[in-house]
């Protein structure tokens, strides 16, 4: 594992999407005037006849995707997380999830790590809003390799999927040939002093914390939750049984996000004290991604300070 090589998950996504597009002619891609940011311009260049720029009309984009899906197409709808899950929530709920249509919503620029654009563009509630929707599956990959895996897998799932992607470059955590499974968390390390349950950009932070703590003689394991829904209940319960402490960390509100999902599982199956790191009921603000992760205590140092 070499955490020095970095790539954005939206770049990984766009490469995977182009590859999928070559194999499956039913894949169509929609964007809402952000194709250079979401990187769907890569697909657009390769398959212009299957790319639809819907303009600044996210609600229309989701509805059009639903229409495509009723006719056997596999639409991938793209915009920033704030406009996908937020602006088009009712369309996702009523035109996609209720009829259980095969629409893939790929949401770039999630979390405070959006950075300088500030609070209006930093989506901190999307995991909460998407995971409560019946029929919806929710993904939050942590690196390049995992993102590519998830994009390929969701193209085989017949139903709504939401994929949360980041603006910032994140370390490449996994080897090219790493094996993943939808709905199965990835455990890194076997330490028994604590489990750091992380998702998305925070997985790399958890791994940095793990290395720092090891030097202090504290041995933790990291549970990378790439599939938020359906969540890997078995892995969470097993880690709670095997380790002394459970910490969750996410670039998302602690209300309704990964931390909440973990608490729901443990409350029902193995009551355990949980420490949730995440945005604590507040909006984000402008700053660099690194500064914001420090400010909102969702970086490696925040984890280390708990020991």
């Amino acid at each position: 594992m070499n955490l020095d090589k970095k790539i954005t998950t939206r770049q990984s996504y766009a490469e995977a999407l182009k590859e999928l597009g070559e194999k499956n002619k039913n894949i169509v891609v929609l964007d809402a005037d952000l194709s250079r940011s979401t990187k769907t311009d890569i697909f657009a260049k390769a398959f212009p006849e299957r790319f639809f720029n819907m303009g600044i009309s996210e609600q229309d984009m989701i509805g059009t995707s639903a229409g495509f899906a009723t006719c056997g197409k596999i639409p991938f709808a793209n915009t920033y997380a704030i406009f996908a899950a937020g602006r088009a929530y009712d369309q996702i709920r009523n035109s996609v999830c209720y009829p259980n249509l095969n629409v893939k919503i790929c949401a770039a620029h999630a979390g405070v790590t959006v950075g300088a654009d500030g609070a209006t563009h930093q989506m901190l509630e999307d995991i909460a809003m998407m995971r409560v929707l019946p029929n919806m599956k929710v993904f939050s990959p942590s690196d390049d390799v995992q993102t590519k895996f998830i994009i390929k897998e969701i193209s085989k799932i017949n139903g709504p999927c939401y994929v949360r992607l980041a603006r910032i470059s994140t370390p490449v955590i996994y080897d090219e040939d790493e094996k993943f499974e939808i709905g199965k968390a990835k455990q890194i390390g076997k330490g028994e002093d604590a489990t750091i349950i992380a998702t998305g950009v925070c997985v790399a932070e958890a791994l940095k914390a793990k290395a720092i703590l090891e030097k202090k003689g504290i041995f933790v394991r990291v549970l990378d939750i790439h599939t938020i829904k359906p969540i890997d209940r078995d892995a969470i319960v097993r880690c709670a049984q095997e380790t002394k402490k459970i910490i969750t960390i996410e670039d998302h509100s602690i209300l309704g996000g990964l931390g909440s999902a973990v608490c729901e599982v443990l409350a029902e199956e193995y009551p355990t004290k949980v420490t949730r790191l995440g945005i604590n009921d507040s909006f984000g603000k402008s700053g660099s991604a690194e500064e914001l992760m420090k400010l909102f205590k969702i970086d490696a140092q925040a984890i280390v300070s708990l020991f």
């Binding site: 299957r50 009309s57 509805g63 229409g67 006719c71 056997g72 197409k73």
Partner: protein, 273 residues
């Protein structure tokens, strides 16, 4: 089974109106006003215009219909039942716990329903996706989308209208059920739509105005829409809310109220005349 005789179509529209009243009465709730106003539109689409087969409701090459004003499900269900998609007997289950006929249409529960709708303003976007798919696959099917006039206060309708026009969806026909009433009253007083025809024209539509309760004019409008190339069509159908039942006509009370027993009997007796 294309019905071409005007009188025969008028008879079918009347049958559908009777079932709308019966369906809403049995349920004790529902939306009779807007269902009655669009009964002629649905009759012409399902019995004269659309390429459909009730025995094969999911046929890939079928024409599609999206009831964007999903609350007018009594009209859609009564039309589908009359067309043979399911038994008229099933209409008695409307809005009840053990029935497939939900308050608003569910495409996964009811044969012939092409899209689940209910939250206003979303249907035209879906219809666009269907119409683009038809063109991409050279399937040649047409897509019809019925909007309420109050519904076009939803901003998404205009986002979608730009999309219809951008992709030159001449296989798409929007129908606005222009009955001039919405729940809280007269449309112009709630939030004025002003010139609906000019709005659609400026969004790049071929606009056709018809008397939406006149079968002949509706057939003519749909035929003209089919012949239009390179742009989508919007048929602005001037209708009467509650059409066919004297005390319901142009009375906003009947937007979403079921008739009581005496009102029900009176309505049926008027329609059965």
């Amino acid at each position: 089974m294309k019905v071409t005789k005007i009188e025969a179509l008028e008879k079918i529209a009347n049958d559908i109106r009777i079932n709308i009243i019966k369906t809403v009465y049995n349920a004790g709730s529902g939306h009779p006003g807007g269902s009655l106003s669009c009964a002629d539109i649905l009759t012409v689409l399902y019995f004269n215009q659309m390429n459909i087969n009730p025995q094969d409701p999911r046929a890939e090459g079928r024409d599609r219909f999206v009831l964007s004003k999903g609350h007018c499900s009594p009209a859609l269900y009564s039309t589908l039942a009359r067309r043979g998609y399911f038994k008229e007997e099933d209409l008695k289950g409307f809005r009840k716990i053990d029935s497939n006929l939900q308050g608003h249409p569910d495409m996964n529960k009811v044969p012939g329903v092409d899209m689940s709708t209910g939250s206003l303003g979303q249907g035209l976007s879906v219809a666009n996706g269907m119409a683009i798919s038809s063109k991409m696959n050279s399937m040649g099917y047409r897509v019809y989308c019925l909007l309420g006039d109050g519904e076009i206060q939803e901003g998404q309708v205009w986002e979608a209208a730009m999309t219809s026009s951008k992709y030159k969806l001449d296989n798409l026909c929007v129908i606005v059920d222009n009955n001039n009433l919405q729940i809280d009253g007269d449309i112009q007083s709630v939030k004025g739509l002003n010139k609906i025809e000019e709005k659609f024209e400026s969004f790049g539509f071929n606009v056709i105005s018809v008397d939406g309760n006149n079968i002949e004019q509706l057939i003519d409008g749909f035929d003209r829409a089919k012949m239009t190339k390179g742009m989508p069509t919007a048929i602005i159908a001037k209708t009467i809310k509650g059409k066919g039942v004297s005390f319901m006509e142009n009375n906003v009370i009947w937007h979403g109220t079921a008739p009581k027993e005496d009102e029900y009997k009176l309505a049926i007796s008027e329609l059965e005349k």
